[in-house]
């Protein structure tokens, strides 16, 4: 007897149920908690779609770091709660929107199900990239990210920096250059201190491990960077480290190091290997790992700064 179809259907029901609850929950914080649960379920769905790399990213970024961001914001907005609440939309309008949404979902499902059986695929090209210019990478996804679509990946790092700049620029003018608000109370509990002193060393090792195996197995700079970011946030929650001032030089250098190194090597590739973002084939794998190391640093610094929010005035949280 095969239990898999039954498990798939229950998992689907769970994901849809949690997503629905995110929408219909009465208070904001329940919705946030349901969203964190949804992230965990979604990671399991990605495993079922044979995408362990994506599952790891979803669990680390979608579940872990986003969870921290939403829980902290949600709880703060919620405590201060509940400001003016807008009038509820009328029943007729709600029904109309519901009908439109069902129509949209139905047509989307129909479109996906009617895709041609022999799906068009870029897998052969990507596999060729993994053999050719992305030489020596056993993980086809890393080969795609770093070689076949390297320009995209570089720009994606730029987007991350732009997002950090965007978050910073939301802050008050007088606070510019100061540090973002600390992550926790001035006197953290002993249990948290213990956790923050034991977990980050282990977590740092695991982050580097996942980054390193990413060349040949599921993992990579995104996932490893997200884990390192999470460990830095644990340390900041226990006030072992506070968010650095946003005008500190090392912070800004660390933020741009990923795309800067990527771009520099891409330009060098235009001169040495014939075209933009080409790697000399003998050096491809070491070069890719070199770039990825700086990407790891960029991501590990950018994600906590995004969670920390804009600079705050002294003594103001």
């Amino acid at each position: 007897m095969n239990v898999q179809p039954f498990l798939d259907i229950s998992l689907a029901a769970l994901v849809i149920g949690v997503a629905l609850f995110t929408i219909i929950a009465k208070d904001e914080f329940s919705a946030v908690v349901a969203y964190v649960a949804y992230g965990i379920f979604l990671a399991i769905v990605w495993v079922r779609l044979y995408a362990p790399d994506v599952a790891l990213t979803e669990a680390a970024v979608g579940g872990g770091v986003t969870g921290v961001l939403l829980v902290m914001a949600g709880k703060r907005l919620d405590v201060s709660a509940t400001m003016v609440v807008a009038k509820k939309p009328s029943v007729a309008f709600s029904a109309f929107v519901a009908a439109c949404s069902i129509l949209l979902a139905g047509s989307l499902a129909a479109v996906i199900l009617s895709l041609p059986d022999a799906a068009p695929s870029l897998a052969p090209q990507a596999a060729a990239a993994a053999q050719g210019p992305g030489a020596g990478l056993g993980n086809p996804i890393t080969a795609v990210l770093m070689s076949y679509r390297s320009f995209d990946t570089m720009l994606e790092k730029v987007v991350l920096i732009l997002a950090v700049v965007g978050v910073w620029s939301v802050g008050a003018d007088e606070a510019w250059g100061a540090a973002p608000a600390p992550f926790g109370p001035a006197t953290p509990s002993d249990a948290l201190l213990f956790l923050a002193k034991t977990l980050p060393p282990i977590g740092g090792l695991i982050g580097v491990h996942i980054f390193w195996t990413g060349a040949d197995e599921p993992g990579g700079a995104f996932q490893g960077g997200a884990l390192l970011a999470a460990m830095w946030m644990v340390a900041m929650m226990a006030r072992l480290a506070d968010p650095p001032p946003i005008n500190s030089r090392w912070l800004r250098l660390a933020l741009i190091s990923g795309p800067a190194v990527f771009l520099a090597i891409g330009v060098a590739g235009a001169m040495l290997a014939g075209h933009f973002f080409a790697y000399p084939s003998a050096l491809a794998k070491p070069l890719i790992l070199f770039i990825e190391t700086f990407m790891l640093l960029s991501i590990a610094v950018a994600l906590p700064m995004l969670v920390a929010g804009p600079a705050a005035r002294k003594g103001v949280r």
């Binding site: 498990l7 914080f29 908690v33 349901a34 399991i44 669990a59 829980v71 953290p188 999470a230 949280r317």
Partner: protein, 94 residues
Amino acid sequence: MPNFLLAAAGLITIAVALGLARILRGPDDIDRMMATQLLGTGAIGTMLLVANATGVPGIDDLALGIALLAALATVAFLNVVELEPDEMGHESRD
């Protein structure tokens, strides 16, 4: 054997998902966080079993990653809860 492990994984997922009823019922936010904590642990157990039963590469690393992040959201929540009301502060408009 793989079927037994998969069935166990499914049972665990469904069991901890039932715990999500706590999100619905509360009564306090801290109870809601406990439900996600249980869900995270359940997901790790599920991943371990699935990794062993199906042999898709990398799921053990995935379980390792989730184990590392298991308590992150809960700890973040408790940290905000423990803030003194004046630390919570709302920027005064001056």
